[in-house]
Symmetry: C2
Subunit: 288 residues, 2 copies
């Protein structure tokens, strides 16, 4: 996974424009965010899903980088003072802290836009039908019916008092949609049969929910140094979380069930996608 | 033009999701911005360019709505307190004033994303190669090498002291790129020959620069009531403008020359594109 993460960082470095000229500042901020490390879970899912269908590695890596651009844009905008007002991300100053608010808004806009430039470019895939489908899928995951809608719900005054159903629905939009698209992107790149694509979607849906439950657990149990971002924020704001509603032990058991079910979804593949199974277990056991 | 503007508003209304459910607030803000009127110059250019190549009117209208979504997103984000901090747009409260800052950031993100969903959808064009090319062109016009880069330059401390070359380069990114893409989109939809497409680009480049010069003139010569937005802001901030550098009379003469040259670019078409000529004259003579 670390080797893959490095390959993603290199591809992001190649795809992003150089930070020179009078507009250099916004590109510098885009690069600061996108080249800052992180687990690179979403790109990893794109690449491993694509590998199941024999997709060219170079195409998969380019698409994976586009998905990471969308993830980075969402982190920049979610961290803004008007949103979660966070000053730490991936172990360093958030973009609006390291630069300024205007630059952070524009850097997010730039990364969001660039992701579509990347998937629509022939270097991502030779077949324009694949490129158009990737753009459509990425937009659906990122837009008002996905991440944008999820962040809006997360900011709502009624958010604090959400029940289990409420926070599950919120998670499906805010983090689940892009995780699911990451797996689906591999299937789109590989022109996978509908049943394989549906299996990957179901795997990713379960994985995404487990990911969020573990995120909530880490948020209560870890230090900012371990996570590279502020902790205990939801609790401080009185926001409902999975461990808050279920208790830590039940929440962890629920995540474990989801991961087992996710792995079960992969039974349709003749050859066992072992790395996707291991990824699911990593999501459960990760400490960051 | 007014009839076309209404058709664009209706199409935007059809394409945007309904503002209900827990994420309703962000969709409401997207609709507030996109359905608020305006000249709809960019969609008009998409439709008139497309008409030259016999493009289906319904396809052109859908693509035109996507271009307007990009324009509206840029207005929302440019108006934010961290950017130009404007409270009036198209004669009413800006999105962050009518809603709040977080909702305005998300509504901009949502419209930007939705534009790509629209051009990547088969309802925009039956040929996936056309859809992928539209997405790529839209991203190039909107991203760091276009609008995002232009807004960054407009915020730079050295912006105030720009010379004519500096503000011309700024304009080409900030407003010119999307105006040029609007005309190019018609050519892409119509799979136009390269020389016709280049002619439309050249027409739009001249038109876009003239548009900005007239914008600067109106900014000094009009009232907020006439323009539906604050006036005299560049002057108040000591920012270089075309009339500021050239004098109002020379600036107007320069805009007139550009409009003549823009119309001359259309000579390549066997049948004179009269409406595009009239549009160019409208850009020169408009009072809002």
């Amino acid at each position: 996974m670390a080797a893959r993460a490095e390959a993603v960082t290199r591809r992001l470095d190649e795809l992003l424009p150089p930070a020179d000229g009078p507009r250099g500042r916004v590109v510098e901020a885009m690069r600061y965010s996108a080249l800052s490390g992180g687990k690179r879970l979403r790109p990893f899912l794109v690449m491993e899903s694509a590998r199941l269908f024999g997709v060219d590695r170079d195409n998969a890596l380019t698409c994976a980088a586009a998905v990471e651009m969308i993830h980075c844009y969402s982190l920049i905008h979610d961290d803004l003072p008007a949103m979660d007002d966070s000053d730490l991300r991936r172990g360093r100053a958030t973009v609006h802290t390291a630069f300024d608010e205007a630059t952070a808004i524009l850097a997010g806009d730039g990364l969001l836009t660039e992701a579509f430039a990347v998937v629509a470019d022939p270097r991502c895939h030779g077949d324009p039908a694949v490129r158009a489908e990737l753009a459509a899928g990425l937009a659906a995951a990122a837009g008002a019916a996905g991440m944008v809608g999820g962040q809006m719900i997360d900011m709502a005054p009624e958010r604090a008092a959400f029940d289990l159903e409420g926070i599950t629905r919120l998670q499906r939009l805010k983090t689940g949609a892009l995780i699911t698209f990451s797996c689906e992107a591999g299937a789109i790149l590989g022109r996978a049969p509908a049943d394989r694509r549906a299996a990957l979607r179901a795997y990713a849906d379960d994985l995404g929910l487990a990911f969020q439950i573990v995120d909530d657990l880490l948020d209560c149990e870890s230090t900012p140094e371990e996570l590279g971002k502020p902790t205990g924020q939801d609790q401080a704001l009185g926001k409902a979380t999975f461990p808050g509603l279920l208790g830590a032990e039940t929440a962890r058991a629920r995540a474990r069930e989801l991961i087992e079910r996710a792995c079960g979804r992969l039974a349709i593949f003749a050859e066992k996608p072992e790395i996707l199974e291991q990824t699911a277990r990593f999501v459960l056991e990760r400490r960051f």
